[in-house]
Amino acid sequence: MNSMKSRILLITFGLLILGTAMALPAAAQDPSQDQGQVQTEEVKQPRFRIGAYFEGYMINDKNLKDFYHHSQRNMPGFEASVHTVYNIDVWASYRIYRDEAKTTYFEKNDKFRISAVSVGLQYRPIRWKFLEPFVGAGLDLYSYKETVEAGSDISGASGNATGFYVQVGTYANIYKFIALTGFYRYNGVKKTLANPLPDGSKSMDLGGHEFGGGIVLKF
């Protein structure tokens, strides 16, 4: 489990470092040199964006919705991106999905958590003064865990799942260093299990629709 997390973080930071490395040559150019309008605009873009947002996650899995009695969970999320070239950013996000229910007979607390990491590229095709819409896609790296309160003979379970995401959204620049953001994201993350779920199926679909908004610092 920990190794998986480490691996995800390693990949995330790897992509960020790669993006940073790709961005550095552009940053190293002397702004006084006459390199044309486009180059000037490139230089004026902030290199980094760090944001926090609040989102709703509408999970696909029917068993999870039935057992935990929620079809949507609201949760915080964090993102970071590094601008590379051509309005393309290396982008990553981390959020935690939590839900809780009782076991069916002994009514012990049963907690479920997904640590979701998404890593991919984000492209901002148009950069208006106020709005910068974007599209993105990449990998979803999920880690899930069920924890059952002591007193039941049921043991919890945990595992990892991978998938993809696609997203659309926009930044709304309200100050030089601050922007607001809104997005919609679709995740496709499925996992085949050894034991059947409550409805008898062995396939778990952790993906779903996300939509949310937040604030981004750019520098």
């Binding site: 069916t104 007979y105 049963d110 039941s152 034991n195 779920l197 409550p198």
Partner: protein
């Protein structure tokens, strides 16, 4: 010449008269006139005599004989060494070589024997050594019990007699000689139940001269009838024959003086026939006359005294031994005349007379015993002259046809080795209950079949019931063991449930129950409860204990059972003494 002839004739007549008188005064065996001989009876009787004492030298004396329901016969007698010996004969077989009854204490010679049989075919034997000590032993299937010296306050004198009750309790009547302080001779009854190891005893007289062997008999109600000699309230040398009637609890119901003439009324005998009529006989020694009286239980009256005529002149003080037995409805008396010749007499109730049924031997007899076999009267005797041997004479009689078509079923219900009273024996006619000793008895028609089940609130029994088919004889020792009936829990419910998390789940059976109100009513302390489980299709030997719980718990979760299991459950209760209720 005429005078000489007349004198000679008179002389011859006188000689003839003397000769006839001499012959009459000295009876011989083969020509003894039988004053009361019934030609039909003598002609019909088939008499056979065999020697059963083997070929050893020396004198054998004091025989006793009995036959059990299987037709097996046992003869015991005093051997030439003074020890008691026995010989046994299976029905239709031959007599075994006489052997010493094992484990006897050293005897100073022995006298006075009696043998009786119980419902199991066991032979109960009694004899007395000349040190005036009674010994008892029993014999069954080739095995003797160790002879035991009767536990008596004083010592015995002139032997005793045995009878057996329907529950196989042995009853012995014997003279007990107590030297101090009164030098009295009292009649004691000794009792030994089938499972008892020792005799209990009871004094039934309060005089000083009950000094000859009493006689004892048991009727169909298990009442005891005892005949004895007594000198109560009489002058010296005047003895009477007295009867005591005791109920089945050994309490004296009545007593009666049977003889009315003064003198030595001696050697009393008593017997009960199949109609519970009681016959008592005795001998008046100074006239050598035997007498009898018959008791009719329906009228509750004793007949007048009847004289038993043995035939041949009886010499005063020269005859006293006799033996009385009932065979079906009939009474037989074996008695000696003054010449020691033994006669078997039969009582005719219609004429109130004793008739001579058979001549037993051609030789004078010293001692003898009489026993009613199935279709023969058995008489064992020893010849008067030495060397003496033991002979068995059989006299054919009509087989006993049962006068009742009923049989008894009896036994004891015990708890912790003590009788349990108030147990209702359901299934027996009338549903009899156990008495204070835990004993019960019920009467059924012959051929009856059914199941007898003891019942008493709060108790269970082992066996829980006994099933009978075609009962044709008394069934004794139908015993049960009782124990506190701890009941298992009440209203046991089983509910199958699933405990499910998101990823994992298991099936569990939830058991709930209530305390059994019967246990509560009995005040039982339930210290533990045990949960048992088996598959529905498994037999009852497969119950497996899966949990032991405190006595106050009312639920149990059998977790992680297969979801398709078909388990059934039982929850038993365990009291503070460790008794556990039945699973099912």
């Amino acid at each position: 010449m005429k005078r000489i002839a007349s004198i000679s004739a008179i002389f011859l007549i006188v000689l003839c008269i003397i000769a006839v008188n001499i012959e009459g005064a000295r009876p011989t065996s083969k020509t003894t006139p039988q004053e009361t001989v019934s030609p039909e009876a003598l002609g019909a009787a088939v008499v056979k005599t065999i020697k059963v004492s083997g070929s050893g030298a020396g004198n054998k004396r004091y025989p006793g004989v009995a036959e059990n329901a299987d037709g097996d016969r046992l003869v015991i007698f005093r051997g030439s060494s003074g020890s008691y010996m026995y010989t046994f004969c299976r029905k239709g077989g031959s007599w075994s070589n006489p052997a010493v009854i094992p484990n006897q204490p050293k005897m100073k010679s022995s006298t006075c024997t009696d043998v009786e049989v119980d419902s199991t075919g066991r032979f109960h034997c009694l004899w007395e050594d000349t040190d005036k000590t009674l010994f008892y032993a029993s014999y069954l299937d080739g095995k003797w019990t160790n002879p035991v010296r009767m536990s008596i306050p004083g010592r015995n004198d002139m032997g005793g007699a045995i009878a057996v009750r329907s529950n196989d309790e042995v009853v012995i009547a014997a003279v007990n000689f107590v030297k101090n302080p009164t030098n009295s001779k009292e009649i004691y009854l000794y009792f030994k139940g089938k499972k008892d190891t020792h005799f209990k005893f009871k004094n039934i007289t309060n005089d000083r001269e009950s000094s000859t062997t009493p006689s004892v008999a048991v009727d169909s109600n298990d009442d005891i009838w005892v005949a004895l000699k007594s000198d109560l309230n009489l002058r010296d040398m005047d003895l009477i024959t007295v009867m005591h009637h005791l109920d089945k609890n050994n309490s004296i119901l009545s007593s009666k003086t049977l003889s009315v003439e003064g003198g030595w009324n001696f050697w009393p005998q008593i017997a009960v026939n199949s109609e519970d009529k009681v016959m008592a006989t005795w001998v008046l020694s100074q006239s050598a006359d035997y007498f009898s009286r018959l008791y009719n239980p329906k009228t509750k009256n004793w007949s007048s005294i009847e004289r038993v005529l043995l035939g041949a002149p009886m010499k005063p003080w020269a005859a006293f031994w006799s033996k009385l037995a009932a065979h079906g409805k009939d009474f037989y008396l074996a008695a000696m005349n003054s010449g020691r010749y033994l006669h078997l007499m039969k009582y005719n109730e219609k004429t109130h007379r004793w008739t001579n049924f058979a001549k037993i031997s051609d030789d004078p007899v010293y001692y003898f015993d009489l026993y009613p076999g199935y279709d023969q009267m058995l008489i064992v005797w020893d010849n008067d002259e030495e060397p003496s041997n033991i002979y068995l004479t059989t006299v054919d009689v009509p087989p006993v046809t049962p006068t009742t078509n009923k049989s008894k079923i009896s036994g004891t219900v015990r708890k912790d080795s003590k009788g349990l009273s108030g147990v209702t024996m359901t299934g027996l006619p009338g549903n009899p209950a156990t008495d204070s000793s835990g004993e019960y008895s019920g009467e059924v028609e012959n051929g009856w079949g059914g199941t007898v089940r003891p019942q008493k609130s709060g108790y269970a029994f082992s066996p829980s019931s006994i099933t009978y088919t075609n009962v044709t004889s008394n069934q004794t020792d139908q015993d049960y063991l009782a124990f506190i009936a701890i009941k298992s829990v009440a209203n046991l419910q089983v509910e199958k449930r699933v405990e499910r998390g998101f990823f994992n789940s298991y099936t569990l059976n939830i058991l709930t129950w209530e305390a059994n109100p019967e246990n509560t009513a009995l005040g039982l302390v339930i210290s533990a409860q045990r949960v048992y489980r088996k598959s529905r299709t498994e037999d009852n030997s497969k119950w497996a204990r899966i949990a032991e719980l405190a006595g106050s718990v009312r639920t149990y979760e059998d977790r992680n059972v297969p979801s398709d299991s078909d388990y059934v459950y039982a929850v038993t209760c365990v009291d503070d003494k460790g008794n556990e209720s039945a699973i099912y």
